[in-house]
Symmetry: C2
Subunit: 282 residues, 2 copies
Amino acid sequence: MHVFQTKKEVINWVNSRKKEDKTIGFVPTMGALHSGHKSLMKLAQSHCDEIIVSIFVNPTQFGPNEDFNRYPRTLEADCMLAKEAGVHAVFAPSAEEIYGHSHSKITFSINGLNTHLCGKTRSGHFEGVLLVVNKLLNVVQPHNAFFGKKDIQQCIILQSMVKTLDIPVELVLAETVREQDGLALSSRNRYLSSSDREKAPLIYKTLKASKSSILNRLSVSKVITNAINLLKEKDFLIDYIELVNESDLEPVSEIIVGKSYILACAVYLGTTRLIDNILFKA
Amino acid sequence: MHVFQTKKEVINWVNSRKKEDKTIGFVPTMGALHSGHKSLMKLAQSHCDEIIVSIFVNPTQFGPNEDFNRYPRTLEADCMLAKEAGVHAVFAPSAEEIYGHSHSKITFSINGLNTHLCGKTRSGHFEGVLLVVNKLLNVVQPHNAFFGKKDIQQCIILQSMVKTLDIPVELVLAETVREQDGLALSSRNRYLSSSDREKAPLIYKTLKASKSSILNRLSVSKVITNAINLLKEKDFLIDYIELVNESDLEPVSEIIVGKSYILACAVYLGTTRLIDNILFKA
């Protein structure tokens, strides 16, 4: 498995693979890889000939009070996991390699999709995601890029970017991978104390129960209020629990048969922010 | 020569050319083609095997009070000129083909480079240029793209976009083509009345004389004031005449030997807005 640190190495490798008519599958990550990432790599192999994984804790998608500095960096273990998963190349650049010395003069602004859910409290986050993913797609030029549905808002915003900018890539979205007790895998789970880890599966349990209640035609606002109260009782701090349209992420107070919805939440256990969601059709 | 109206046709053609190891040269235009465009097409042929020209009057780069509706559309003549120039394909899409039915959810914002020169009065103009050029580059995926230095601020902003977003293309900038009397070629010249057409060469004459005065160490602000007064006397309306750094487009009041500068202007004759510039090293 190759480990590249520069864009130039990646570009050369991709070009040589394409010369041999190989298709390129790209899995962008921030490292601290877990089985969720591994499932993305396996999915990539079922679509493409050559798989490249980027490992880059992207500074521009963290707010000033977020966990950029303490975000886990485990490059050696990450490379082992990638190699085991059959990945052909890892791209692990420095921030300087990605952004250069000068401040970037051009950024993205998003109308609409980033005003909801995580966009409300994570100001600038999705602009940073769009910038780095756009850059990485331009460097790697893959046929397919793979993202996990745990970050559902990110998935929808990236799909919008690809369509709006005619980026020549097909995004493939993978189902969220969960622990046996239902907790969605996340690099941030390793922040949890053991008592918080015991509580954490309640997030998904609550989402599942709430989804059933909503499908059973209970009032959406009452279901969500109940979910919030239930989690608050167990010492969760609630950023949001919301039902939104899949199409435009607009909040929804009543469901319509045949349409697709996302029940999404972001909550804190101690200082650890966890997100999860369920996508379903009414 | 092919004439394409859809992105899909362009993508298929480009892919087939690349399969035969041909390099692709791209000349994006708004049509109403003149000898300036023709020189870009000739330049493209000296760099690349296959040349594609886009003809698209891009609505997102016109302000509400600008000349989008009256901008000349001369597709038939444009195709003849392109064919004569040895172009292999023209891409002449509708606005619907480029932007689709829905409003785009993602746009560019620029820090710095668009606050100067034309950016001061043409709010949103460069964001529209970045959006459409980014989209066209993603569709065409050329090896080189060709732009004229008459639109020098556009050139510098696009170079910044390509670098900032790691877009896999090399931009080639071509010298401004002029009439014998010095007037920079522009699709908008055809708006001019015959008496205004007679006055128009004074723009370049004034820029040239001002450049010489600046190189002769006369005060920059005095030289510019004189230039403005001279043009005003001849019924020009002045948007700006400014000396700026080539690197960051910041206004300059004193020159330093060895550095590169742009003396740029935008003026009106009647309702017609004309721009021109001189790039020089002190």
